[in-house]
């Protein structure tokens, strides 16, 4: 019976169905690549004039004042960099520690409560958080001694909050993926729970943690509405020092959002805004590429039986 061919009348439609599903899956996979490629070429087509028409020295100038044709991108790059660095410094330790607590220490019942709550956090629209930051967070920062409440740090705080769910969820998955035998083995040879976490579980989960951090950074760099509302939007390069986090800055995303509505199609300003989009695209692309590379090296090392 087992070697008998399948029902003759049933076989062709099923196989046809399978082909259709395979085709659909193939299309879904290809479309992701195709859409990214299309976005890239669209950005390139609209933004290429930025790099052809404006001398590089002016493009990396310090003054952004588009209605007078001053297209210095430095203040915007610095603004995005400051806000991102601040957010990463706040969010990465917090996120990883929260994931360790959730995955390794918290009792099961608490975990069952916390995990869905963190996922809800990810669903809050950024404009809502931006509004919250504008009415609630900014006055606190100003009262704490900053010249104004609308600063790079205000943006960093909000973005850290926004990227936390991503970082926690993915870090927690990475910790979960570490085989139970590692922990058992470590505890069996007399290591404490802390030593087990720090010396065994974290190194074993490193590649996943790197992805978590990179995806968090991606979220931070690309975020627009919240930073538009709380960073003050001054295209200024603050003086170097700790105080630069407490000055208003203008990020690349906020610049595009604030100026795209008004700009005349096909003008130089228009293509510069797309040029900024292109730069953002390349930055996110690099971050993702770095992430895959780091993880790739890690994976290969582990396969060769290297140190965990």
């Amino acid at each position: 019976m087992t070697t008998a061919p399948p029902h003759p009348s049933g076989a062709p439609p099923r196989r046809r169905g399978e082909t259709a599903i395979e085709l659909l899956i193939w299309l879904a996979g290809i479309s992701a690549i195709a859409i990214v490629a299309l976005i890239f070429f669209f950005l390139l087509r609209e933004g290429i004039n930025t790099f052809l028409d404006i001398p590089l020295r002016q493009l990396f100038g310090v003054r952004w004042y588009p209605i007078e044709e001053q297209f210095g991108l430095m203040p915007l790059l610095v603004g995005t960099f400051l806000v991102t660095i601040g957010a990463v410094i706040i969010a990465v330790p917090l996120g990883v520690v929260a994931a360790i607590y959730l995955g390794e220490i918290a009792p099961l019942w608490l975990r069952e409560i916390l995990k869905p709550l963190i996922e809800i956090l990810a669903g809050i629209p950024s404009i809502v958080l931006g509004f919250l930051g504008w009415v609630a967070l900014a006055p606190i920062i100003q009262n704490a001694g900053a010249p104004t409440g609308l600063t790079a740090f205000t943006g960093s705080l909000l973005l850290a909050y926004m990227s936390l769910p991503t970082i926690i969820s993915i870090s927690e998955d990475a910790l979960y993926a570490v085989p139970k035998e590692y922990r058992d083995g470590s505890l069996a040879i007399g290591a404490t729970q802390w030593q087990t976490i720090w010396r065994v579980v974290l190194p074993a989960a490193r590649s996943g943690l790197v992805i978590a951090v990179m995806l968090g950074i991606g979220r931070v760099i690309g975020e627009t509405m919240a930073v538009l509302m709380v960073t003050g939007n001054a295209a200024n390069i603050p003086n170097f020092g700790l105080s630069m986090f407490f000055s208003p800055v203008r990020t690349m995303t906020a610049t595009i959002a604030a100026e795209m509505g008004e700009v005349a199609r096909g003008s130089l300003h228009y293509s510069v805004l797309f040029g900024i989009g292109l730069i953002l695209f390349l930055i996110t692309f690099t971050v993702n590429w770095l992430a895959t590379r780091l993880v790739g090296v890690e994976g290969a090392r582990r396969q060769q039986g290297g140190r965990l």
């Binding site: 310090v62 209605i67 003050g232 001054a234 509505g261």
Partner: protein, 298 residues
């Protein structure tokens, strides 16, 4: 069990229908919509958006068959929309730029500007700030960053926080030309880089309200009792004048400007009637009620 249309296809069809009707709705701007109702699309200056809404509401009561849809976004946004043919009337708190006029003509649109009201631009600070009067020269020095401490102006020893509208705002351009550059076409000064650019009027007033060392500017109609008005003098020899409806109308307040409605070509039909009503007594009464300066009636 098998329906002639696949459920997914039905969803797609519904979406398509929705999209096409949506497109049809935007197309019908300025033309007679179903039921003999006239629709006028009006977009532009954020300074004028409250005014335009009040006009639209009052006009609706008088001519119920004309529906006027008002949106803001900034003068540049409104003018761009007029050039692209998506609105019937653009609101602008500045004159059209040469480049915009050329662009409009290239698309076969001859823009006509109609002065509909006058706006006194108020310079505002936090009520806790002791400074209460400034000359245009001082304002230019403040906003270009040549003066950075309130002490130099007789105030506290604290840094000046500059607040402005975004560059797509007609208010920004007017303030740049008339105050930062003191009306001198040769002057190429621009706002100091540390100027915070706010996407809305509310952004400016809220920063002024909570920051004792911030200074900004906004249309007189948007100033509330939570901000302090600065009396402005044309130069050191002139008197300091507070912005009011009267000082804006008689020209003694130095920073007052015309507000425009721009149409594509000479308006006709419902649009012409609407604009005629605005510059008439009924429309201008609303101008005065909202804290703007009405046009003189003669």
């Amino acid at each position: 069990m098998r329906s002639p249309i696949h459920p997914l296809a039905r969803v797609a069809l519904a979406l398509l229908l929705l999209l096409t009707t949506g497109a049809a709705c935007t197309r019908s701007a300025g033309q007679t919509a179903s039921g003999g109702e006239q629709a006028i699309q009006n977009k532009g200056s954020d300074t004028m958006v409250n005014l335009a809404l009040a006009w639209a509401e009052a006009y609706r009561q008088q001519s119920p068959d004309v529906a006027i849809a008002v949106t803001g976004g900034g003068s540049g946004t409104g003018i761009a929309a007029l050039i692209n043919g998506t609105v019937d009337i653009a609101n602008a708190s500045r004159e059209m730029k040469e480049s915009e006029i050329e662009e409009a003509r290239a698309k076969g649109v001859e823009p006509i500007e109609h002065v509909v009201a006058i706006d006194a631009l108020a310079v505002i600070v936090n009520p806790a700030n002791p400074v209460s009067q400034l000359t245009i020269d001082q304002l230019a020095d403040i906003f270009t960053g040549r003066i950075t401490n309130w002490q130099e102006l007789g105030g506290d020893d604290a840094g000046i926080i500059l607040v402005s509208r975004e560059t797509n705002s007609g208010t920004h351009v007017y303030f740049l030309e008339e105050v930062v550059r003191k009306g001198d076409a040769e002057n190429t000064d621009i706002f100091a880089p540390q100027t915070m650019l706010m996407p809305s009027s509310v952004g400016i007033t809220s920063e002024i309200q909570r920051n004792p060392y911030a200074i900004g500017y906004d249309g007189l109609g948007y100033v509330t009792k939570h901000e302090k008005l600065i009396a402005v003098a044309r130069d050191a020899a002139s008197p300091f004048v507070l912005p009011t409806v009267e000082s804006g109308a008689d020209g003694t307040y130095p920073i007052a400007r015309d507000l425009y409605m721009i149409t594509a070509g000479e308006p006709s039909g419902a649009i012409a009637d609407f604009i005629a009503w605005i510059v008439g007594p009924a429309g201008q009464q609303i101008v005065a009620d909202l804290g703007f300066v009405p046009l003189s009636q003669e």
